[in-house]
Symmetry: C2
Subunit: 189 residues, 2 copies
């Protein structure tokens, strides 16, 4: 399915661990990012709906009901096929949550596919999410814990445990950038 020199990195980690920062660092080296949530949102728009977070979640749950738990991985692979056919052979997939998805991607993408997990101390993650100021940023500790739990229920703990690489992100953004670029360069070699 994929050509030589193709590298597709699935990035995973708990909420607020720094997945999108990692994707930005990869973009510095020519990677293109595919956000699984964006793939769903694009589909919501195609179907003529307003791509609100609620609508996207509803659509995603419906898809999973119809196509199984790898529904979003399936759509994402379609998006990846188009990118690869356009010559984009360095990709980051942001949003992988379960081993079922990992297995789906592995079968579809063969040896070009690796999982990179990002890890942050939970207290630090909470603080960073509080200051990130995104719409979906949890404000209370209850929200934070609930979001963590729902991600773990999908199998995120296993996905982190079974990842091919892990990058610690307890220190500064510069330190995280350095570690990320070092791993990305290693993967090139």
């Amino acid at each position: 399915m994929t050509k030589p020199n193709t590298k597709i990195l699935g990035v995973t980690g708990m909420p607020g661990s720094g997945k999108s920062e990692f994707a930005h660092f990869a973009e510095e080296l020519g990677y293109h990012t595919v956000v699984m949530g964006d793939v769903v949102r694009a589909r919501v728009v195609e179907e003529g709906f307003e791509p609100t977070p609620e609508m996207s979640t509803r659509y995603m749950l419906q898809l999973r009901e119809e196509m199984g738990e790898t529904a979003v991985a399936h759509l994402t692979c379609d998006a990846i096929d188009i990118l690869v056919s356009e010559g984009k052979n360095l990709l980051v997939i942001d949003g992988i949550r379960s081993q079922a998805e990992v297995t789906y991607f592995k079968e579809h993408l063969d040896e070009a596919f690796f999982i990179v997990a990002i890890h942050v101390d939970p207290d630090l993650r909470f603080k960073r999410l509080q200051t990130r100021g995104r719409k979906d940023a949890p404000v209370t500790e209850d929200d934070f814990n609930q979001r963590d739990e729902s991600e773990l229920k999908l199998g995120l703990g296993e996905t982190i445990a079974f990842s091919n690489y892990i990058i610690p992100n307890n220190k500064s953004l510069d330190d995280f950038r350095e570690k990320s670029l070092s791993l990305l360069n290693e993967l090139e070699g």
Copy 2:
């Protein structure tokens, strides 16, 4: 419960990730290791039984049935109390598997307690376990997968995801030692 300057590191990770190597590195800096399995084995001997792996597992399961899922953490805390009362204030606990155990240790050990997870790529873990030559080393891929699954069922994935620190151990033993000592020195500071 614990005194200032006390540092107790719970080390966790999938089978073959390098938990006991981490404990050895910590011992270089004056840490004392408490292996949770040894605590169980010691209790098996005290009760007059042969401490075979089968007997220890049976005893452990019986303990969990009687005292709940934190039974081994409970026994381990008793052992820790003795060590701390003897002036041993730098400890590594090897063998933590579930968040219930983490919570038990946190309540008992207060702010002196941190979780350090070790991470290795699954294929590499399998290769290392094959060559490690310990009695309980899995020989086949089926054994390896089964052991991984049973650890994850106990909640190891969550424990890794919620750890305070993570050390990547995909490279050489020297690299792992350097990363471990660097973290241990940081914790001292």
